[in-house]
């Protein structure tokens, strides 16, 4: 149904797209979420050519293109590389009510950063370089929020 805006003579057509997807995880991310959920273990994998450890693990090294078959477990603690405090609302897709903090955390043993939320911290106290520890949720579902957030160590 089209709608006239005021008395402008201009018409708009409000509608929405309803789209459902079932994305396939593949074996690498499948293993990552299976063990995150069932064992609270965090897996990365490593490139045989450049030796970097990627967390989360991926199919192939983005730099070398080489398939990565060797899995490496990393710790649940790490350093905060960067962060922001989100102060605006976007419907449906935000895990928390703003203001909330998200950041990139380099877990001990990893060469890359994990994007995630920060919690149990005063937003004014967050600093680059902070040591953080993962807090796991009580009822894991096999996604990234099986880690609820990272809190200061």
């Amino acid at each position: 149904m089209t709608v006239e805006l005021g008395n402008t003579g201009t018409r708009i057509y409000p509608n929405r797209i309803r789209l459902r997807y079932n994305w396939w995880l593949g074996s690498v991310m499948g293993r990552f979420y299976r063990d995150l959920k069932e064992k609270k273990r965090i897996w990365g994998n490593t490139c045989p050519d450049c030796g970097l450890v990627y967390v989360p693990p991926k199919e192939n090294c983005p730099t070398c293109f080489t398939k990565m078959n060797e899995f490496v477990e990393v710790g649940d603690t790490g350093n905060l590389l960067t962060y922001t405090i989100v102060r605006y609302k976007v419907p449906f897709v935000q895990p928390l009510e703003p203001p909330f903090a998200l950041g990139i955390i380099q877990l001990d043993g990893a060469d890359t950063g994990l994007t995630h939320l920060l919690g149990e911290v005063d937003l004014d106290d967050i600093e680059v370089g902070m040591r953080l520890k993962a807090v796991f949720r009580d009822e894991p579902q096999g996604n990234l929020l099986d880690i609820k957030y990272f809190r200061p160590l």
């Binding site: 989360p56 730099t63 922001t84 990139i104 990234l144």
Partner: protein, 378 residues
């Protein structure tokens, strides 16, 4: 490389909400570019359009715009990315030897959807889309990383916004001509620290078109061809955590390819005007470094120096840049159009006098994952 020229350009006035439909915008700019080139649609032998399915709410969006761009019964394809990449395809079509005249059209009506939902969908559904990343908060992660690495300040970011909104006052197409101060920027509504409202580009409705022609055809048709002297493009890795967000090596690679092709050895001295993709204020400073206008970490000192102001040695974004109008996918092609107008001496009150060599830049993906750089010459 055989010479290829920009022979026609067209752009809509950029607005927050335009009452035009997609077809109206596309038809308008296609005709404007044809008129500017002094040719008809029958002289165009291939079209490249830049459309994005999520922004348009239409999948296989490339096929929805063939009518209004006059592309039916013609070779046409979509480059689902910034218009600078669309122009690259148009250029390559001509260089292939199979085409003479490429029409490149890019458009987005940002007003029709919910930008936060659309840009959240940039991120990996298998991984970090779930934490609520979007264009603004991901940029904030990059801005903070850049500040930490080099000590660039929010005041220096704010100076970019002040400069570009002021420049927009001389651009009749710009959406946001503004007289603001650094204080105004710092006091504007915080969105995702350190990014505030006046550090951010607007949501925009708009379209633009460019016509490219090979040398033999360009000379026949056009009184003021603007030559593509060099082009380069490069892309970084996808996941934010796999990148050093303060590192501009990928832009540097793209720029060096363009400079090599164009024979530019000292970009700061040899380039007269630059139009770059400042989706956020901090980005202009990072791109200055990647383009070689200053050293790594020198973006803050560069904006402080005044070199990139109107009247400075290398004015950057005399049009007002993307901070003053951000039609997604079109914005990089608009940079090429603005650079073209500068080189033709048709930039009106925003003209950089005597411009002979211009740089135009576009980005694709979150936090400038991909870059495309052009050197244009009279």
């Amino acid at each position: 490389m055989e010479k290829v020229a920009i022979i026609g350009v067209g752009q809509t006035k950029f607005e927050k909400i335009s009452p035009s439909s997609h077809d109206e915008m596309i038809f308008e700019v296609t005709n404007a570019a044809l008129a500017d080139a002094g040719i008809t649609i029958d002289d165009v032998d291939n079209t490249v359009t830049c459309n994005n399915d999520f922004w348009d709410g239409r999948t296989i969006s490339s096929m929805t715009v063939t009518d209004a761009s006059g592309s039916n019964r013609c070779t046409t394809t979509n480059v689902e990315g910034d218009g600078t990449f669309g122009a690259l395809m148009g250029l390559m079509r001509i260089l292939s030897g199979h085409h003479d005249v490429s029409l490149v059209v890019a458009q987005t009506k940002g007003s029709i959807g919910v930008p936060g939902l659309i840009t959240n969908a940039i991120f990996d559904p298998l991984y970090d889309r779930i934490i609520g990343l979007d264009a603004i908060n991901s940029a904030a992660l990059q801005a903070r990383r850049y500040m930490t690495q080099y000590g660039i300040t929010e005041e220096q970011f704010a100076k970019v916004s002040v400069k570009n909104h002021k420049n927009a006052k001389h651009n009749p197409y710009a959406q946001l001509p503004l007289d603001i101060t650094v204080r105004d920027v710092l006091d504007s509504r915080p969105l995702a620290d350190p990014i505030k409202l006046l550090d951010t580009s607007p949501v925009t409705d708009g379209a633009c078109a460019v016509i490219l022609a090979r040398e033999s055809v360009a000379y026949k048709l056009c009184r003021k061809p603007v030559w593509i002297a060099g082009v380069g493009h490069c892309s970084d890795t996808y996941h934010l955590g796999d990148r050093d967000l303060a590192d501009v090596s990928v832009l540097e690679t793209a720029a060096m390819k363009a400079y090599d092709m164009a024979g530019i050895e000292n970009p700061l001295e040899e380039i007269d005007v630059a139009e770059v993709y400042d989706a956020f204020s901090y980005m202009e400073l990072m791109w200055m470094e990647g383009l070689g206008f200053c050293e790594r970490g020198g973006g803050g000192a560069l904006i402080d120096s005044g070199l990139t102001e109107m009247g400075g040695a290398l004015p950057v974004n005399p049009s007002g840049g993307v901070l003053s109008a951000h039609p997604v996918l079109a914005a990089g092609l608009v940079r090429m159009i603005e650079a073209t107008l500068q080189l033709r001496g048709e930039a009106g009150e925003r003209q950089v006098d005597g411009a002979q060599v211009a740089l135009a830049h576009g980005i694709a993906g979150a936090c400038g994952q991909g870059h495309c750089v052009y050197v244009l010459e009279r």
